[in-house]
């Protein structure tokens, strides 16, 4: 019966191969050791910062998984990711309250005749959370709307560029343009004032091991967990998800296999749109609604996706936590003021690009 072919490279090749793989293990293993060591240390020394880092990491992970999916299937850097997240957060806010700011800042006008908060009991707090079921309904509705919005943008902008066989730089610049458009839309409709979904106090919950978190942060973690689970099942158990991974792997072969690549692209935008919406609403719940926040988030999002290896969804998930935790814990050091948070993401990004450009999970090509 067939036996696998035996390859006998000469000694020099073999030595060089060994050297290369040893280097890989050292760089990879070294990074892993540093990540785990840092996290364990933080668990003892900076427990509060670690907790916040995990929450932020979960949000970044959701965003980065969407970013990496888009990169995998469409092969371009989606610079509108952060701003789409924030626009989604504002859409959820509109659905909840129906409010947009009038022509003169401060004079609020109600836009929608019916809002989610008009539903009976929609805004009365569940358990220890600061919000009622209305926010969850708004988040789900926003996911549908954002999915539609992303598919619509693809039809109007990116599909045209694909038909013209534009280069990836054109795509990336187009997405940057859309990022500015989205931020302007937020400023036009809601102004520059930061907002919260709900006023009122945030309850703290004490957990074992001297950990205390906001109840809302537990919700963020749970929601991120559920959404990640759904995306995982979609990517690895459904035909559609497998086709997305196939396209990320080898777009030409996907075409040759008869896969309808246009349809897969549409679905990719829809899935990314859902991830964007959930990540955006959770971000606004953790921080606040702010027109500037989306763009600022771009750097940590890309850092997370690149740490995991661009195009690799599991990698982006881990990358999100790595960046989130490192950011929060690092600024507890005396020499780093909290204002340097995003520069930590930048440092991680550069470190990874230098030491291991294909990311923690990237396979050697």
């Amino acid at each position: 019966m067939a036996t696998p072919q035996t390859i006998s490279p000469n000694l020099g090749d073999r030595l060089r191969g060994f050297q290369r793989s040893a280097g890989n293990i050292a760089a990879g293993g070294g990074l892993w050791a540093a990540i785990i060591g840092f996290t364990v240390w933080a668990a003892f020394a900076e427990r509060d910062a670690l907790t916040v880092g995990i929450v932020l990491g979960a949000i970044l992970a959701l965003g980065a998984v969407g970013l990496t999916l888009i990169f995998g299937v469409l092969k371009f850097a989606h610079f509108a990711h952060g701003d789409s997240m924030m626009l989604s957060a504002f859409i959820a806010w509109l659905l909840l309250n129906g409010i947009i700011v009038g022509e003169r800042a401060g004079s609020e006008t109600t836009l929608l005749p019916v809002t989610i908060n008009d539903l009976p009991g929609a805004d009365s707090a569940i358990w220890e959370f600061s919000f009622g079921y209305g926010l969850i309904v708004a988040m789900l509705l926003t996911a549908v709307l954002t999915a539609g919005m992303m598919v619509g943008i693809d039809r109007v902008v990116y599909r045209r560029l694909r038909r013209r066989k534009s280069g990836i730089v054109i795509f990336a610049i187009a997405s940057l343009g859309l990022a500015f458009v989205m931020r302007s839309v937020i400023l036009i409709f809601w102004g520059p004032t930061p907002r919260l979904y709900t006023p009122g106090i945030r309850n703290r919950i004490d957990l074992p091991f001297d950990v205390s978190v906001l109840a809302d942060q537990l919700f963020i973690l749970a929601a991120a967990f559920v959404v990640t689970g759904i995306v995982y099942v979609m990517l690895f158990r459904t035909k559609l998800g497998k086709a997305m991974r196939a396209m990320a792997d080898n777009p030409d072969l996907a075409l040759i296999s008869g896969i309808d690549t246009d349809r897969i692209i549409t679905w990719t935008w829809a899935v990314a749109g859902c991830l964007i919406a959930v990540a955006g609403v959770l971000l606004a719940l953790q921080a606040h609604l702010d027109s500037e926040l989306g763009f600022a988030l771009l750097l940590p999002l890309f850092a997370a996706a690149i740490v995991g290896g661009l195009g690799n969804p599991q990698g982006a998930l881990v990358g999100g936590f790595v960046v989130g935790i490192t950011q929060e814990v690092a600024v507890t050091f005396d020499f780093l003021s909290p204002g340097y948070k995003f520069s930590v993401a930048f440092a991680i990004l550069i470190l990874i690009l230098l030491v291991r450009p294909r990311g923690l999970f990237g396979e050697r090509s």
Partner: protein
């Protein structure tokens, strides 16, 4: 084998194609594959063999000429339409999805059709028992030979009428080459027409019914495989005799 009088499975007539505009690589190539036939295309490096397969499969526009599949015009049809009509293609390189498992690779081969998937999978895995035992493993981890088997398997998932193969034996050990050709013969015996591009002229002609010699983007010679094997010009040019 040329006795079939029905419309040929695949008919390529005077196809002109190229990559850069204004620069033609194929200058009017014609090829025919009849039902049940196994046809070799041989020729030196850069002759345009791969380019011809890409043009047939709709990956490269045919600037002139005509391509017919089972008597119907399919010139410049999109690959997913050709797959539906019973054409399959295994490219020369990058012919598996490396981060997908073996099973997922095969599933992707049957993306456009659901029914009969299980039976087809069973058939393909029985053809390549090496793959059957490792179905959960990533394709990127396979050896060159196994990768080639998987690429063939993927292309077989829809039970195609015609299979286009681009140098399936390239860079394989002699033992593997025999095994791959053996499997291709088995696939052909099941009734699938095969268009086989090969550098390995002697080996290809010894398994095929007919052959074409392509050079500089033009038909140079054609005929029964046996007669091409004995042909002095072919011998001199491609087999070093």
């Amino acid at each position: 084998m040329t006795k079939t009088q029905a419309a040929p499975l695949l008919e390529v007539k005077d196809v002109v194609a190229g990559y850069a505009s204004e620069v033609d690589i194929l200058h009017g190539v014609s090829i025919t594959v009849h039902g049940g036939e196994m046809v070799a295309i041989i020729g030196p490096n850069g002759a345009g063999k791969s380019t011809l397969l890409r043009a047939i499969f709709g990956l490269l526009a045919a600037r002139r000429g005509q391509i017919k599949l089972k008597g119907q015009d399919v010139t410049n049809h999109a690959p997913n339409e050709l797959v539906l009509r019973g054409l399959s293609y295994v490219p020369q390189v990058d012919n598996v999805f490396p981060s997908l498992s073996i099973l997922e690779n095969l599933e992707m081969g049957a993306f456009i059709r659901e029914e009969g998937l299980a039976e087809r999978l069973e058939y393909v895995l029985s053809l390549f028992p090496d793959l059957a035992g490792r179905r959960g493993e990533k394709a990127g981890k396979l050896s060159g030979g196994q990768r080639q088997m998987l690429a063939l398997g993927r292309a077989l998932m829809l039970d195609p009428n015609v299979l286009l193969l681009d140098e399936p034996s390239a860079s394989l050990s002699p033992k593997m080459v025999d095994m791959i050709f053996d499997r291709i013969k088995m696939i052909n015996a099941e009734g699938t027409g095969i268009l086989l591009v090969e550098q390995n002229a002697r080996e290809a002609l010894s398994v095929c019914h007919r052959g074409y010699v392509l050079a500089m983007g033009e038909n140079r010679l054609e005929g029964e495989a046996k007669s091409l094997l004995d042909n002095e010009e072919v011998g001199k040019l491609y087999m070093g005799t």
